[in-house]
Symmetry: C2
Subunit: 125 residues, 2 copies
DNA sequence: TTGACATATTCCTATATAGGAATACATTGG
DNA sequence: CCAATGTATTCCTATATAGGAATATGTCAA
């Protein structure tokens, strides 16, 4: 029973490769009617509409009706949570600190922590 | 029929909030036995094992058997594709360029493009 | 109005997967 | 070998959702 209940979450929204394709079309920041997008990606119109709907619920795109068209535009700010989250790990590949050295440091730290931490206190319970 | 078939994709892997919790525990780069993680997050052991399995298949963690333990460690490089993908949109919120101005520029460009592009050629078909 | 066009929605079927419970498997100490 | 410990796997049920097809809805033009 997937109680996960994370629809409308931006992380879930971008998990779909098709959805990222749609986002790629919108990436230049301009607005597009649904059919414009349909022509750019290899998907049926209902699929595109559904994906746009999901992206909209996740706050990744904005929509405005214009005549018989619905113009969609990327709302990049909706992707910021993802950026903020993943940015934390950036240092692991940007500093090209010697991996061996890094690991040695971590192990030393680990050992210290185990001295205070092992079996006597088991986290907070 | 969700032919999506994107299991083992890092974007899908991190879509699960629980999985991000597990990653948060590993975020310091140190290695952890499964039970260490179980104690840190509020989840049953089988769930943690399953999530670790998914993260492992997605290349987000590495695992090494040590005695009867399995030590898991974050493989931050596995998250790089996400970082690279989302980084493209960074400029939309970092430059605090006047939104109105930005939009005007885009519209002008849009208009120009429509002159060459509308109805005459319909993308590549 | 009516018809053409643009887009959304609904119905269907199939897949993926979360979590709980029970259990299997693996490793080590004795 | 055996018991204990650490972890993975399997079975189950329920949810979320993708895509296709058909259709509904909305909006403009004449």
């Amino acid at each position: 029973m997937a109680r996960t209940a994370h629809p409308d979450d931006v992380f879930s929204a971008i998990a779909e490769p098709r959805r990222r394709e749609v986002i790629a079309v919108l990436a230049n920041g301009r607005e597009y009617a649904v059919n414009d997008i349909v022509l750019s990606v290899k998907m049926a119109q209902p699929s595109v509409s559904k994906h746009l709907g999901a992206l909209h619920r996740a706050g990744v795109v904005t929509m405005v009706r214009r005549g018989r068209h619905r113009m969609y535009r990327l709302n990049a700010a909706g992707l910021k949570p993802v950026h903020d989250w993943v940015k934390v790990f950036e240092r692991y590949w940007t500093h090209q600190i010697d991996e061996i050295k890094q690991r040695a440091e971590r192990k030393a730290l680990e050992r210290m922590i185990r001295l205070n931490d092992s079996s006597t206190e088991k986290k907070e319970e």
